[in-house]
């Protein structure tokens, strides 16, 4: 019978090469990618909290980095990843309840996810940037 150690070289069923790329497929992998991005970005959250707990100098350093151009780009991207992943998660919870599994419904949910995440990110940054003076 089979030997114990090492992965045997088995044939792999084709996937990406044979299926037409649909929006729902794309949204699925983007859900995973945004999850990974959020995972890495929790380092920023921990840094912010630790800086606040450490003292004014540490906090000032964080503020300087966060309000730099690169810092703002990262925070904007993180905001979009967060909103997009959350709306995607709601999509999954809707599916878990048994609803929205039809083709048209799933397409609609995928579109709503994308449109919603872009709109909410812009809204949050509008509120934070202009109303709260964050972009001053």
């Amino acid at each position: 019978m089979a030997e114990a150690k090492g992965p045997a070289a088995r044939p792999l069923s084709p996937h990406l090469r044979i299926y037409r790329l649909t929006l729902t497929m794309l949204m699925s992998i983007v859900h995973r990618i945004t999850g990974i991005a959020l995972y890495v970005g929790t380092l920023l959250l921990a840094w912010w909290l630790l800086a606040a707990a450490s003292g004014p100098n540490a906090y000032a350093t964080f503020q300087a980095v966060a309000s730099s151009f690169i810092g703002r780009v990262v925070l904007f991207g993180y905001t979009w990843a967060l909103v997009h992943h959350m709306l995607g998660g709601i999509r999954h919870l809707i599916w878990d309840s048994g609803h929205g599994l039809g083709l048209a419904e799933a397409e609609w949910l995928a579109r709503a996810n994308l449109v919603g995440s872009i709109a909410l990110t812009i809204l949050l940054w509008f509120v934070g940037g202009f109303l709260m003076g964050g972009l001053r």
């Binding site: 019978m1 992965p7 921990a46 909290l49 707990a53 906090y59 003076g133 964050g134």
Partner: protein, 139 residues
């Protein structure tokens, strides 16, 4: 032991295992329901907690350090942030675990990454909780 004239893999060192011993560990995992439920539960909790945390962060933009300390150290804000950290770090730990199990099949790399995942979530979670507690009770 190999003898001249004998061919085939079963003529090398014989595998002493029984048929049952050879197949143990393969097949369906038969566990994982707990993680499935926990992922949905933390996802559900994350919806209000993340919205609250984002609103807290936005409300602290541009404020000076003293104001940030006072707000983050206040009871309702600290409690919300602590719950958010707990739910989000556990959610990200089990989420990343699935990703690693999906793509990494080399045993050494897989186990190393799975262990790193647990440590990463623990360090990020614990550091954040420590900072919040320090802001609430510390000097």
């Amino acid at each position: 032991m190999t003898m001249p004239g004998m061919h085939g893999s079963d003529m090398r060192t014989p595998d002493m295992r029984t048929p049952l011993g050879r197949v143990r560990g393969y097949g369906a995992a038969k566990s994982g329901t707990g993680h499935f439920i926990a992922q949905r539960l933390t996802a559900l909790a994350n919806i209000p907690l993340t919205i609250a945390a984002v609103l807290i962060v936005i409300s602290l933009i541009g404020h000076n350090h003293a104001a940030v300390v006072q707000i983050l150290g206040s009871s309702p804000v600290a409690i919300i942030m602590l719950l958010f950290i707990l739910s989000a770090t556990y959610h990200m730990k089990i989420g990343m675990q699935v990703i690693i199990e999906d793509y990494v099949h080399d045993d050494a790399a897989k186990y190393a990454l799975l262990i790193f995942n647990i440590f990463f979530a623990a360090v990020v979670g614990f550091s954040s909780i420590y900072a919040l507690l320090k802001l609430s009770f510390g000097v």
